[in-house]
């Protein structure tokens, strides 16, 4: 992705500076073409982002449309409320648990399956489609089957017999979040396999040949050629998996009936929904949103730094 950004900047500036008439660029029509999308981004991204920050610093509540109400500036009050709220803290902790399970599992499984898939010819299309089918299916539909599978008398417990956890998976405060993490890993894996498959096409074949000449086992070749070769994709996979964690709502909401036993599987977005819309404190909810946005940006940045520096 990084080289693409360079492409964008290449031809323009010198030309623009030389000819003051080209204030709008060589092809100002581009502004017209891009305008609807730019307006859309401004309306559903930039403005709401600003509004979220504004709301989070004010005593904001829902009022009848058109009513003039005072919404005094309260400084960091909402942030204090958020950070001292045990429900919020628990939801962040839950996402932490989710990420610890989901991210490594996703990276390892998708890379291994993608590199295996890359070497077989037989049934390749069938395998690829089976992997991404969960990704393209609605969480709501898949949750229904998982409820059936992981319910008290579900097939998983029938299989385990006396080994079945008690209380059962989805109502067990220690297991609710891991099951959610497992569900999301399973659902998203196909997409990440596709990303790695694309990245694998860029690993020079000569490197594998060289490794093979050196007598490296396929395991060594995998560790020394494949893993470093797909590093940019790994950065992307880790960032996207982290974002999925920050976004979590539907899966814990439906799979563990709200937020699991004692809020064991609440997610920040779920708490935002509860506080902002159910309990009518959008200011507190907006503060959670702002914290999440900052966290996601920070984690993305750190990931890039960590994984891209050799």
């Amino acid at each position: 992705m990084t080289s693409e950004t360079k492409v964008v900047d290449k031809p323009r500036p010198a030309v623009a500076r030389r000819r003051p008439g080209r204030l709008l660029g060589l092809q100002p029509l581009g502004i017209v073409f891009a305008a609807p999308y730019a307006v859309f981004l401004a309306a559903v991204f930039a403005y709401p982002l600003g509004l979220a920050v504004w709301i989070s610093f004010h005593d904001y509540f829902f009022a009848a449309p058109g009513a003039q109400v005072a919404r005094p500036f309260v400084g960091l009050e909402n942030y204090k409320t958020v950070l001292s709220d045990p429900a919020v803290r628990r939801s962040f902790l839950n996402v932490g648990k989710f990420l610890v399970i989901n991210v490594p599992l996703t990276v390892v499984l998708s890379l291994v399956l993608a590199s295996m898939l890359n070497t077989v010819l037989r049934a390749r299309a069938f395998l690829r489609v089976s992997y991404y089918i969960p990704y393209v299916t609605a969480s709501v539909a898949l949750v229904a089957v998982w409820l059936f599978l992981f319910g008290m008398d579900g097939m998983v417990n029938q299989l385990l017999g006396p080994l079945a956890p008690d209380p059962s998976w989805l109502v067990n405060s220690g297991l609710a979040m891991p099951v959610v993490a497992l569900f999301v890993t399973w659902k998203q894996l196909g997409f990440f396999i596709l990303l790695y498959l694309a990245a694998l096409q860029n690993v020079p074949k000569e490197l594998y040949e060289a490794a093979s000449v050196d007598g490296a086992t396929s395991y060594r070749a995998f560790m020394n050629v494949t893993v470093p070769g797909v590093r940019p994709a790994t950065v992307l996979v880790v960032i996207l998996a982290t974002i999925t964690g920050a976004n979590l709502f539907t899966e814990p909401y439906l799979l563990t009936n709200g937020g699991g036993p004692d809020g064991a599987s609440t997610s920040p977005v779920f708490v935002m929904y509860q506080k902002g819309i159910e309990q009518g404190t959008p200011d507190v909810a907006a503060a959670i949103g702002v914290i999440l946005v900052i966290a996601v940006l920070l984690i993305s940045l750190i990931n890039r730094r960590l994984l891209e520096s050799d």
């Binding site: 100002p28 891009a34 981004l41 559903v44 299309a125 596709l194 074949k205 539907t250």
Partner: protein
């Protein structure tokens, strides 16, 4: 299209094998693992269908391979509780609106980002990338305030569609495809005096047809599967898409059906079937190369 990976034709294992024995074993091991993986991914779908056809929920191992007692009753059960046709139509309108907005405005934006030099292009590109990192769920409160409270668009298709109207990933895909076309094509057309709209319509667009299908597939899964936003914005059951009605059914009224699991799974099959059918039918257009152009950089 000049894409690097075409899964049906590329040959990755054609190099001479030095130790055929060990390689072959490794190859078969890979196949076994891959097929076991496929089983893990597909079994829940199979189980969804089986469960939706059972008269009584049978969660034992034998229940997975039913020999009798199959019925379509669960489908009429769920249809009695939630208006399946109405919900499907709502899902269709929601998804159709988003696809329309994405195809029309996304192609224009993707073309401008790839091929036209105008002021603000790098800023727009940077924001487009940022949008993919900061997802809309985190901005749900201000967007809810805007759409529901300020503009009064609760319980309307417009309110449902608006936050999704142009899919940024699709814009990115369009841009990548337009970027791959040779520059000479455009300079020649410009020399001939064609205007940009004409160039886009008659020169560029015919060459990126596969991108349009990929983008439509990619866009489809967003609104069709979306739960949170339509759940917040529609309280009127007449307007709710299937994902919302089914989710509400799961969390509220399931207790009232005689075979709640059967009815839920029947609803799940109805919700899943269009997406699965679409992606199986057009699987060639949803490959690593179509999507992964972004990672290749």
């Amino acid at each position: 299209m000049a894409l690097t990976e075409t899964p049906t034709t590329d040959v990755a294992v054609a190099e001479p094998e030095k130790k055929p024995g060990r390689k072959a074993v490794g190859h078969w091991l890979s196949l076994v693992v891959l097929f076991l993986g496929a089983l893990v991914f597909l079994f829940p779908f199979y189980y969804m269908i089986v469960g939706s056809l059972q008269e009584e929920p049978d969660t034992s191992l034998r229940g997975a391979v039913p020999t009798g007692g199959l019925t379509l009753d669960n489908y009429s059960q769920i249809n009695e509780r939630v208006d399946l046709v109405r919900s499907l139509v709502n899902s269709g309108i929601f998804t159709g609106g988003v696809i329309l907005g994405t195809v029309v405005f996304g192609i224009l934006a993707g073309y401008a980002l790839a091929r036209l030099h105008f002021r603000g292009r790098s800023t727009l590109f940077a924001v487009m990338l940022l949008v993919q990192i900061v997802p809309f769920q985190l901005l749900i409160i201000p967007i809810y305030v805007m759409i529901v409270r300020t503009y009064g668009l609760a319980d309307s298709y417009l309110g449902m569609i608006l936050p999704f109207a142009i899919n940024s990933t699709a814009v990115f895909v369009f841009r990548q495809f337009f970027l791959q076309l040779p520059e000479e094509l455009f300079s020649a057309a410009r020399l001939d005096g064609a205007n940009e709209l004409r160039i886009l319509w008659s020169v560029a667009l015919p060459l990126v047809k596969p991108a349009i299908l990929t983008a439509i597939l990619l866009t489809f899964i967003g609104p069709w599967n979306e739960f949170l936003w339509p759940f917040l914005v529609t309280k009127d059951t007449e307007l709710q898409p299937l994902a919302v009605t089914l989710a509400n059914y799961i969390s509220n009224v399931a207790g009232r059906a005689t075979n709640p699991y059967g009815a839920i799974l029947a609803g799940a099959v109805v919700l899943a079937a269009p997406a699965v059918a679409l992606f199986v039918a057009f699987q060639k257009h949803f490959t690593a190369s179509n999507l992964g152009s972004g990672v290749k950089g």
